[in-house]
């Protein structure tokens, strides 16, 4: 590489050669900003994503399922934490990120703005929502930013049980009483479309995607990931004996993929804009928890300062 190459070109060449970028390496400012935005959104999604599921912990129908759900939601808190930590390596502050979430400036995955109204929703979320998230996260294990990639590797390892627990709930319901089967079908009906919306807008409507792909932050396009997910999920629904609520869904011999119906993009953008059924509820919950915890966090800091002071005085004496 000659002297004439700009830092940015050399950065691109470095990334193209499948090298990882580490916190102190030079990086284009836009790369840093894109990453902070994406990683913090991802972290917010984990944390807000705890709420629709924690809604059912106290009502889980067996002690075993209660324990599993509790462990799963706890994992999500852990994942949020890993991701906030990854964003912090880029100079972002968790406090600012959380403020951005609470003021509505930062986004999180819209899927969590849908309500969980039956136990079957715990199954559908694990199976479909975590399934869709995993497709995205497996790709992100290879993302070009080292700390993000490492966080994702850890998350993927831990998430592997999440989708299985969801599918297990669906299996038990689908093999259960007529009421349980109806509960399972109803959950699939409500969660199917929001789940496939999780992959984001169509490639041609996703202007930031190309740059992210070029920087190898993203490794697969929205549409590619969506198609993979649908191809994988349809047989799983068939095994359960449940019907995916898309009359246009059919196998296409030629392409070797499932064709599927048009996503309701109006709904998609409405929920992003804050008009989903639970946007306000979720943000209020997060804000309240944070505000109610302020005196607690302050107290712990005040104690730590006093202790440090006491140690200093003890040493001096």
């Amino acid at each position: 590489m000659g002297e004439s190459h700009s830092l940015e070109e050399r950065f691109q060449a470095y990334v193209d050669a499948e090298n990882k970028i580490e916190p102190k390496d030079w990086m284009p400012e836009r790369y840093r900003k894109t990453l902070i935005r994406q990683i913090s959104q991802h972290a917010h999604s984990e944390v807000v994503g705890m709420l629709p599921e924690s809604n059912w912990i106290t009502r889980a129908p067996s002690l075993r399922s209660k324990l599993i759900l509790l462990a799963k939601v706890q994992d999500e808190a852990g994942h949020g934490l890993y991701l906030y930590s990854a964003a912090e390596t880029l100079g972002a502050d968790r406090k600012d990120m959380i403020d951005d979430l609470h003021t509505g400036k930062a986004k999180y995955s819209s899927i969590f703005n849908y309500p969980t109204i039956s136990w079957a929703d715990m199954g559908a979320i694990g199976w479909l929502v975590d399934g869709a998230a995993i497709a995205n996260q497996v790709m992100l294990c290879r993302t070009s930013y080292g700390p993000y990639s490492r966080a994702m590797v850890r998350i993927c390892k831990e998430e592997s049980f999440h989708q299985r627990q969801g599918y297990e709930i669906m299996m038990r319901l689908a093999k259960g009483t007529p009421e349980q089967i109806a509960m399972a079908q109803d959950a699939l009906n409500r969660w199917w479309w929001p789940s496939i919306m999780m992959f984001g807008p169509r490639d041609e409507d996703s202007p930031n995607s190309a740059q992210s792909m070029k920087w190898k932050i993203k490794r697969k396009s929205n549409d590619e990931l969506r198609q993979e997910f649908i191809d994988k999920t349809v047989p799983q629904a068939e095994f359960l004996g449940l019907t995916i609520p898309d009359p246009d869904l059919k196998w296409n011999e030629e392409t070797g993929h499932y064709d599927f119906g048009e996503i309701n993009w109006d709904e998609f953008y409405q929920v992003i804009k804050g008009n989903g059924p639970c946007n306000k509820q979720r943000l209020d919950d997060r804000r309240n928890a944070h505000e109610a915890g302020e005196w607690v966090r302050e107290a712990a800091n005040a104690y730590a300062e006093k202790e440090a002071q006491r140690r200093k005085e003890g040493n001096a004496a």
Binding site: S62, L81, N288
Partner: protein, 251 residues
């Protein structure tokens, strides 16, 4: 039932663990900071895990095909034998921690002795649980100290929390007929001994935390016999709603 006393005693242990775990799990997703959300959820997981072990054992003692879930989901409030303390509402972080500290300290001394119970099953559950409980006791004591000796606001709040929860603390430290019978059988420890240890430890921590120890030990009784506060009915209504709404279903 042949082992009626042992069954009742095991239920006390199981129900207390279950109801506390249920209460703590309400916090999940609402903690003051992510790290502490995770910490409290860990304790909830441990409590529910212990509850399963005790309730499974109780179910076996009962026979008639019952299992842990039959006992957790198909009994009504008057059949529950948990301490009144653990069914009290979470309140704010200080209220939860006050309840937890008072309970963990007791539980630590209790389980330390249950590990040597003549009942092998209880002893083996206690041995496994002891590591968890020792951690809980440390964690909640650390929080009491931080809140007590933190800011003026936190000091006042946690003092109030301790004062408020105190009246529920007596029941666990006072032996009733069943406790005495279990003690004589070598299955349960002497609660008088635990009360002494508890008083010493609690006053030691409260002193470090610059907090006042309330007078006496609380006077409320009833949970161990199935006479509960109003809260338990609501806890059970929520917890048991699915199995009760769909009696034919398995989950």
């Amino acid at each position: 039932m042949e082992n009626a006393n042992l069954y009742d005693y095991t239920l006390r242990l199981g129900d207390t663990a279950l109801i506390l775990g249920q209460r703590l799990s309400e916090w999940c997703g609402h903690g003051p900071v992510l790290e502490q959300d995770i910490a409290l959820t860990n304790i909830a997981l441990d409590q529910i895990g212990q509850a399963r072990q005790f309730l499974q054992y109780a179910a076996e003692l009962k026979g008639d095909g019952a299992d842990e879930d039959t006992l957790a989901y198909h009994r009504d409030a008057h059949e529950f034998r948990n301490l009144l303390l653990v069914e009290q509402p979470n309140g704010h972080w200080g209220d939860t921690l006050a309840r937890q500290f008072i309970f963990d300290t007791y539980n630590y001394f209790l389980f330390e002795r249950l590990m040597k119970s003549k009942d092998e099953r209880i002893a083996s559950i206690a041995i496994k649980a002891m590591k968890e409980i020792a951690y809980h006791a440390q964690w909640s004591a650390e929080w009491i100290i931080r809140l007590g000796d933190g800011t003026q606001e936190s000091h006042d709040k946690i003092q109030q929390s301790i004062d408020d929860v105190w009246m529920w603390s007596g029941e666990m430290l006072e032996a009733d007929k069943l406790d005495v019978a279990m003690m004589e059988a070598g299955i349960a420890p002497d609660l008088n001994e635990i009360k002494e240890l508890w008083l010493t430890k609690v006053s030691e921590i409260l002193k470090i935390a610059t907090l006042e120890m309330p007078e006496g030990t609380g006077h409320q009784r009833g949970g161990k016999k199935g006479v509960h506060s109003e809260h338990l009915g609501y806890i059970l209504a929520e917890m048991q709603y699915l199995p009760k709404s769909y009696p034919d279903a398995t989950w």
